[in-house]
């Protein structure tokens, strides 16, 4: 499997995320299987793969929202993380304005009680301008379109000012112009030296804009420069994996933990 470990002996100072034999999943069914490798500091990586191949699961475990079943998923200490989920639990009927949503991004800096300073307010205005929502700050959330909401969520990521940015399918149901603008932001973050990991479905986008790609089909199929990863042969291999959980699936080596009746 050495071909899917892009960096066998990485310099630790260059490492942003390290996976060592990582297995994550739900109810003892692995969604990501024995992943080894490293995502370098300042890299821009696309995670691709069919539906149900474990992309979101992997991102969630990097974000610290899901504990590994075994193995290690380690983010370099001292790095701040911003995570934009695919299925946001955002309540759009909540009586808040756009700037209230974006201001949530100040949490890591100001916490529960810290005052929002004038500079923070300027950061919010600047972030809204950067995502093309200038003048939207006082608009109620329930009046936003899907694309505008996604732009507002990107503004929140901007305000979070994080070293590691995790975006889970940020381009779903978004028109082309918005995708172009959001890609521009991602490339800008990359240019600033932040580490960015994005789950993407559009392979053309991956080929054009993402230097690195990881192709998942529950286990890693290929990992490295996008041009070498996103190839017809690799995609064909990825498509062959079985999407459904199999309750009869054999236990993965070595010996399984004794089943405790939990399916």
């Amino acid at each position: 499997m050495s071909e899917i470990r892009p960096d066998m002996n990485p310099d630790p100072a260059d490492t942003c995320i390290a996976f060592r034999d990582l297995t994550v999943g739900y109810n003892s069914h692995a969604a990501v299987h024995h992943l080894n490798g490293v995502i370098a500091r300042g890299s821009l990586t696309a995670i691709v793969g069919p539906n149900g191949s474990g992309k979101s699961t992997l991102i969630k475990s990097v974000a610290g929202l899901l504990r590994p079943m075994s193995g290690i998923c380690r983010v370099a200490p001292g790095l701040s993380t911003a995570y934009l989920p695919q299925l946001s639990e955002l309540d759009r009927s909540f009586p808040a304005r756009v700037k209230d949503l974006v201001a949530l991004g100040l949490w890591q800096k100001r916490g529960l009680l810290g005052r929002h300073r004038p500079a923070d307010r300027q950061a919010i205005v600047a972030a809204l301008r950067a995502v093309g929502l200038e003048g939207f700050d006082a608009r109620p959330l329930d009046s936003l379109s899907g694309g505008q909401l996604q732009r507002a969520l990107f503004a929140r990521v901007l305000v979070q000012d994080a070293d590691l940015i995790l975006l889970d399918e940020p381009f779903n149901a978004i028109d082309e112009k918005t995708i172009r603008d959001l890609i521009g932001l991602i490339l800008h973050w990359h240019g600033e030296g932040r580490t960015v990991v994005v789950v993407v479905h559009d392979l053309d986008l991956v080929r054009t804009h993402f230097p690195q790609a990881l192709l998942l089909a529950r286990r890693p199929i290929a990992w490295g420069p996008s041009a070498e990863v996103v190839t017809p042969e690799n995609m064909q291999r990825a498509r062959q994996f079985q999407e459904a959980w199999d309750d009869q699936a054999p236990w993965c080596e070595p010996s399984p933990a004794p089943a405790r009746g939990v399916a």
Binding site: S88, D100, P140
Partner: protein, 288 residues
Amino acid sequence: MADWVVAPFLEFAFMQRALAGALLLSLSACPVGVFLMLRRMSLTGDAMSHAILPGAAAGFLLYGLEIVPMTIGGLVAGAIVALGAGAVARLTVQKEDASMAAFYLVSLAIGVVMVSLRGSSVDLMHVLFGTVLALNDDALRLIGLVAAVTLATTVLLWRALVAECLDPLFLRSVSGLGGVVHFAFLGLVVLNLVAGFQALGTLLSVGLMILPGAAARFWVNNTLAMCVVSVGIGIVSSLGGLLLSYHASLPSGPAIILSAGVVYLLSLLAGPRGVLRPALPRRHHRTA
């Protein structure tokens, strides 16, 4: 008119106490109700109000109609049901609405059995429907204390409360406060229900929590403004209910909740976000 409104409060000390108690309750319970509604937990509030009954009844059985033991009993029962239902929801496949319903129904049945073991149906009526016109100093002090704790906690946790309602997954990704906030908030709900039951009874104390918040939703679209408007509606309902109770010889608790119900209906009809406004024909619209 002025006589009709002012005289009862000038003349009778019990009316002044009732007013003070109801105003403090409005100040405290209405913002909690706003967050209950925003978290889609209005019916949880209702369930909790039933759940505190056996605790209150145990206090009543042991010490009679005394505020302190009944309050402590209610707090304990409320905490057991809230934590129990929450634990079942987290540890099993059952969702919190079902486990909450199961716990509160059992709790309510135990409570009614306990009250009927001793005492008459008059006592049961006291516990169930409250006696705002007979608030003593202890009860007023308790309500004041609860109001202070509630306001302080709400101010302290404001940002987390809003974040937990608006985008709980985001809050989980940046902070471990989500669970703490959830249980602190449930604690506030129980505390306010217990403070209210002396005045309004266990069954109706939730009314002053839910109705003003629900009515405020039809007027404003901003969390802080909703809290302020709901407190205003709570105060107006308390005043109106007490006067109605005094002049028409109605039981005070239900009169207050009925007044709040009337405000809710008016808001539903006439509020800017109510049912009538969108139905009105509009001649003008903006181009963008």
